[in-house]
Amino acid sequence: MSDSVGRVLGTEDATPLSFWVGVGPEAYAQLDDVLTTEREVPGVGTVRISGVVTAVRSRHEGAQFDSDVFDIAGGLLPAQVQEAAEVTVTRVEPEVFVPPTPGAAVERATGEERDRALYFDGMERQVPLGFSRDGQPVFLNADFLDGTRGAHVSISGISGVATKTSFATWLLYSLLHSGAIGAEAANTKALIFNVKGEDLLLLDHDNTRIDDEIRETYRRLGMAPGAFKSVEVLAPPREGTNNGVPDVACRSTGVDAFYWTLAEFCSGGLLPFVFADADDDRQQYTMVVHQVAARLRKEARPKDNGSVALDGQLLTTYRDLVDMICERLSDDATRVEWAGSAIGLGTVNAFIRRLIASGRDIGRLIRGDLPPRGGVIASEAQVTVVDLHNLPDRAQRFVVGVVLRGEFERKEKAGTARPLQFVVLDELNKYAPREGTSPIKDILLDIAERGRSLGVILIGAQQTASEVERRIASNSAVRVVGRLDSAEATRPEYGFLTQAQRQRVLMAKPGTMFVGQPELPVPLVVNFPFPAWATRPAEAGSAPASSARSVTAKVDPFDLATAGDDDDDDIPF
């Protein structure tokens, strides 16, 4: 099943970790090809050395000067075109780390040999990632995704062309639909934060732009093409309405509004998340924040529709609450009670200024006029998309922080890792920056460090991994890189890429990702298929029946009508 590529070069050093191959006249080797060679080791037997092509070059042998190329091309100077390929070794079997012998025949690995070279043979549960350049499938070991031996995914790449969120959703789709995690897939949940545009709000709509060719790629990877089956979209309530209509343009069905009641806000101690900017944490008023939060938890009495009574006053909106707090803090008589002792007036005023400013951003999310939702993620849908894209920055942080804390606490209480909860969060450098601390960063760190055992798996995406908290990046078992800009590519966070790959990421096309996984010493280059679900309204096919139902009733009215046919207690007309 193997075909000859060439021979190990003796003019370049061959080492157990990398070697060069002189490519034969009738053969070729391209980047990412998997090559293999053998050598006899006394007392051990045959050692098979396999690896991935990480560089290829071609040169004129016999030419001494640059201008010789014109003589050669003109037919005056005899010269030989010689191609050579650098192979970075991925596997040595048995593990006797000897260099290949110069002159040894090198073959292209196919079939089982390729699987062995890329450790696919040892992956009991394979998650398809896409195809490598030679058109062969590439897999990820599910053990490193579901927490068995590792967890968390870090995806880096510049905005727009790196297709970070597409890859994150593709990874989820592949995990849930390829059968890699078996029956567990049915119970596995995913929480996706949609931060840009309405890209992720149509995950349950078929993509009308995919053709048979793309469908075939899905089938070759062992899964049926299609949209996510069970999706719930949560959007913030529309600004200025008091009935909680979700603020979404691209779909009218299958969308629910999310908000927190004032009672939840006070009893849950959500106030710190209003000040979740890393900038806020450096200020003195953090003390005031916690003092006020504690006061609210103690004093607020829940009333109807999520409103609260505080000091005998009924508060029905966030602004009411803000006004109340400001009033108490401004009053000399109550200030010490609310802000704590030994707090300067300037600090209190700084807090008041920011609290008032937050009223505009967060006001529509904290309600005293709507019934409690009983947990943000209340439905049984497999994938929950939380739409943040039309929220201002402070509100986005608030939502991410509160939702993540809620999910993390829920999993913590459940005490078992299964069923798994995936969290897809873009712009990780905003929520968990390298410098400073914030309540959200604390939660993300908790997820990164303990999430593996609790079954909370973070799929984080960021433009620049160098600006994300190091402990989060280092806890990610799977590292994915799309197109990077040249300054970013040289940072040590991308040290897992080979030298040639660092250059290649500068021109990676949309749909091409470099995936590093713990078992393989070389990141694999993967082309993942075009999404089979809609990523923008223009691509969206018909909405699934389940989402159409949810807007009016959870039960189909026609089902009721047929069910009532033989009922004697029917209305008598």
Binding site: Q64, S67, P78
Partner: protein
């Protein structure tokens, strides 16, 4: 019998100047035009598009000394190679189509057993310069063999060096880069000096120890004064005069573009670009000189240890 390998770098033995003989030369300059009308001849506008260039290289790998009870004799271990390049000017491709390498130990005394990679070649000479001359002859024979194998399908075959012994190849010319002596008489030499780049002298008939047609050609790139850039070309005397003149025209059209550039080749422009490329390739095929010298030393040392004490 004992063999010792000279510790000196063998290249000191490689005296390229073979012993010169002062031959008397007879020239008939009236082949193409009367002597009185001798003048530079312009090249025709078009020439052959498919050229064959044949060349050989030679290197002394080791100097040895063979001694037995009767005396001591010098010997040389020599590697030589010959090859042919086809230049397809229309197709824009040139390739080495045939090459071969040979080695030999040239000595008057047979060492008796296998000596490294160097088969023994009996040479009755007591002087290392004559031994090297013998290896030159072996190289010329190999060149002739290579040329004979490939010359049939070329419009023009250029053989590096004199045509001696290779006169039967079709469309073949010998190409001589340097001039140890001048064959023409006084005023005719003036015609050579007047040549402009790309021009040739009329064909003349040259008889020294062997007969052939010959002419001079000035290659571009080295100015047009004196003998700079002038090469001498030979054709077999078996040709008719018309055929020799046609060959002369073909070389005048085909060779000037092949002249090498001074900054790339110390022997520019006479050392033609394909010849320079071929020589580099052949030298590589000769193998690493130090490695070969080591193998020679190793086999002589092995003989020493095998010898009864």
């Amino acid at each position: 019998m004992q063999i010792t390998v000279d510790a000196w770098d063998p290249s000191f033995a490689d005296n390229a100047e073979s012993p010169s003989r002062s031959d008397s030369a007879t020239v008939n300059a009236e082949v193409e035009m009367p002597v009185k009308g001798w003048m530079p001849v312009d090249a025709p506008s078009s020439g052959p598009r498919r050229l064959l260039v044949v060349d050989g290289v030679r290197r002394v790998d080791a100097r040895v000394e063979l001694s037995d009870e009767t005396g001591r004799w010098p010997g040389v271990c020599v590697s030589w190679a010959a090859g042919a390049v086809v230049c397809d000017l229309d197709g824009g491709a040139s390739a080495v189509i045939e090459s071969s390498v040979e080695r030999g130990l040239f000595a008057p005394l047979d060492p008796g057993t296998d000596f490294g990679q160097y088969p023994y070649r009996k040479t009755d000479a007591a002087d290392s310069a004559e031994l090297i001359a013998a290896s030159q002859v072996a190289m010329a024979a190999l060149e002739a063999k290579v040329a004979a194998a490939v010359a049939a399908d070329a419009e023009l075959s250029v053989l590096d060096g004199t045509l001696r012994g290779r006169t039967r190849l079709p469309n073949a010319v010998g190409y001589i880069k340097s001039h140890h002596r001048s064959y023409l008489q006084g005023p005719l030499n003036g015609v050579v000096e007047r040549l402009r780049p790309g021009q040739r002298t009329p064909v003349f008939y040259l008889m020294t120890t062997w007969p052939r047609y010959s002419w001079y050609l000035r290659l571009p790139g080295a100015g047009s004064r004196g003998w700079a850039g002038v090469a001498r070309i030979e054709a077999a005397d078996a040709l008719s005069e018309e055929a020799a003149i046609a060959l002369a025209d073909a070389t005048a059209a085909a060779l000037p573009p092949l002249g090498s550039a001074a900054h790339k080749d110390a022997r520019a422009p006479q050392n033609l670009t394909p010849i320079a490329g071929l020589e580099r390739r052949l030298k590589r095929r000769l193998g690493d000189a130090r490695l070969l010298l080591r193998s020679v030393r190793a086999s002589s040392a092995a003989r020493l240890s095998d010898a009864p004490l």
